[in-house]
């Protein structure tokens, strides 16, 4: 099963507002891209728009492990609002 199919099984309550902020300037210059390479829920992806490198944050997919917060100083990750975000059925 592909990862997007696995993520599709999850139940999220999605907030209108993102709980993840990134430093766009730092992201544009970043070569490591640990966020994209390690996030278990594929929240981060890099797109080149009009020749400019931009990080795209699909916060709706976040499973709230907090790994990105640990591996990058330019990601400001907080808990989603109360009641929002991932809701595991098994855990």
């Amino acid at each position: 099963m592909r990862i997007d199919e696995k993520l599709y099984l999850l139940r999220h309550l999605i907030d209108d507002e993102s709980h993840i902020k990134v430093d766009e300037e730092a992201c544009a210059k970043c070569k490591d891209r640990f966020c994209m390479n390690i996030c278990p829920a594929n929240v981060y992806s890099y797109l080149i728009i009009d020749g400019v490198c931009k990080v795209f944050v699909a916060y709706e997919n976040c499973v709230e492990c907090g790994t990105c917060r640990i591996l990058c100083p330019f990601i400001e990750w907080v808990n989603p609002k109360g009641g929002m975000g991932i809701s595991y059925r098994y855990g």
């Binding site: 099963m1 990862i3 696995k6 993520l7 099984l9 999850l10 309550l13 490591d32 640990f34 390479n37 390690i38 278990p40 829920a41 499973v63 709230e64 492990c65 907090g66 790994t67 917060r69 640990i70 591996l71 907080v78 808990n79 989603p80 609002k81 109360g82 009641g83 975000g85 991932i86 809701s87 595991y88 059925r89 098994y90 855990g91």
Partner: protein, 428 residues
């Protein structure tokens, strides 16, 4: 919403729910603030809860708890690419209060938080604590996304993401070499199929811990646990080693699931849930300041996890109990300063569980610096046993005499001696 309670607990996981229960039983007006839809909805466990700390708190209660299976079989599986060796221990004696049981957190935590409510604690769900409130350096309450709550004492059991503790200066933000990222899947399988496949009786369970290098350079571990009618299968690794190797946790997981020592157990299983969670691996050196004026820290927030034994939830219950008892004492003497609360820190650090963690301090860092360990010993064992079971015209004594050279082909002798000294000190 602005209200005053005697005590506020942040997080309705096992640490928070235990602390709240202990306080409520002692007539302390306590509120638990949980950000999830219900207790357990944000929580993930590998699989096994050792019920001793639960039984010490509420004798015999584990008999009514929503436990999956009693672990009668504990095994270590040492993996190489196409070989593995399983060391399996089985005890089929009656279930008792020191056993490990597999659990699923959305069931267990929900039930367990209810025990705190039955004792008199108030539970508020769907409410996120954004910050701790303080006055002249003393914690006086919490700021939530639904208003402020005030109390004599706040017990922080926020889990592995320690934002509140960091803001309050109780802990430095954990570094990538201090945390592991684990992914886990719930794979459904009929209960009779599980029993046949693992050779278990009804209500009996197995726990298999996998050691070995799936990827060179990675410090990782795998696990497989049996629930009533599902399996919990997962793989975790120290974040810094994943950064170095640039591997996606779910790719690692797929590789693990395809390993011949894992794959046959999962056949025909249906994926029910994919999960991911961080595990504190900072050990003793990474523990936060456990108490300060008006505040106590318990559970994963206190970095209470043992990578060697896989303990975590039981340590949350243990620390939650001690924090709850310290809070009761503080209310009795009406003093909530760090001087009164120091007893909590002392008691926790003197517990056998934390003494184990202290003894193992530096173990993971040593392995991170010597990642060859992850593959060298499993590979040597597998090569030696493979040779032993091969009838190839060489003598048995010849096979035994070959063992030292097999081991030395995997790791240099000076390294082996150093490993023996360093690792020996961590356990003896």
């Amino acid at each position: 919403m602005t209200e005053k309670f005697d005590a506020i607990v942040v997080g309705a996981g096992p640490a928070g729910a235990t602390a709240a229960q202990v306080m409520a039983k002692n007539r302390i007006n306590v509120v638990i603030v949980e950000r999830g839809e219900f207790p357990g909805s944000k929580n993930v466990i590998g699989g096994v809860l050792y019920v001793k700390t639960l039984n010490d708190l509420m004798p015999e209660i584990w008999r009514e708890a929503p436990l999956e299976r009693k672990v009668v079989q504990h095994a270590y599986c040492l993996m190489s690419d196409n070989k593995h060796t399983m060391v399996s221990h089985r005890n089929i004696a009656e279930a008792d209060e020191v056993s490990g049981y597999t659990i699923l957190r959305s069931k267990f935590d929900r039930w367990y938080a209810k025990k705190a409510q039955e004792a008199g604690a108030t539970l508020i769900t769907r409410t996120n604590v954004i910050d701790l409130l303080s006055d002249k350096g003393r914690i006086t309450g919490v700021r939530t996304d639904r208003g402020d709550l005030f109390g004599n004492l706040v017990i922080v059991a926020e889990g592995a993401n320690t934002m509140l503790c960091e803001k309050a200066g109780l802990i430095a933000k954990p570094q990538p070499d201090q945390m592991a990222i684990a992914v886990k899947e719930i794979v459904s399988l009929p209960s009779d199929r599980i029993q046949e496949r693992f050779g278990l009786g009804k209500a009996e369970g197995a726990a298999i811990h996998y050691i070995g290098a799936l990827f060179k350079g990675l410090v990782g571990f795998g696990f497989l646990y049996t629930n009533k009618d599902s399996l919990s299968v997962g793989y975790g690794a120290i974040i810094s080693t994943m950064m170095k190797e640039q591997i996606k946790p779910y790719d690692l997981m797929e590789k693990f699931k395809q390993n011949p020592s894992v794959e046959p157990f999962l056949r025909e299983g249906l994926l029910k849930e994919y999960q991911s969670h961080m595990i504190p691996e900072a050990g003793y050196a990474g523990m936060p300041k456990l108490y300060s004026d008006g505040v106590l820290v318990a559970g994963d927030s206190a970095m209470l996890a043992n990578p060697v034994t896989g303990e975590g939830a039981n340590l949350a219950i243990l620390s939650g109990r001690m924090a709850g008892e310290a809070a009761v004492e503080a209310h009795t003497v009406e003093n909530f300063t760090s001087k009164t609360l120091a007893r909590y820190g002392e008691q926790l650090l003197n517990s056998s569980a934390v003494r184990d963690i202290k003894k193992q301090a530096g173990l993971l860092h040593y392995i991170e610096r010597n990642t060859e360990i992850m593959s060298a010993y499993p590979d040597a064992l597998n090569a030696a046993l493979d040779d032993w079971f091969r009838v190839d015209g060489t003598t048995r004594s010849g096979k035994i005499r070959k063992i030292p050279s097999i081991v030395r082909s995997k790791r240099r002798l000076t390294r082996i001696l150093n490993d023996a000294i360093v690792l020996g000190r961590k356990f003896l």
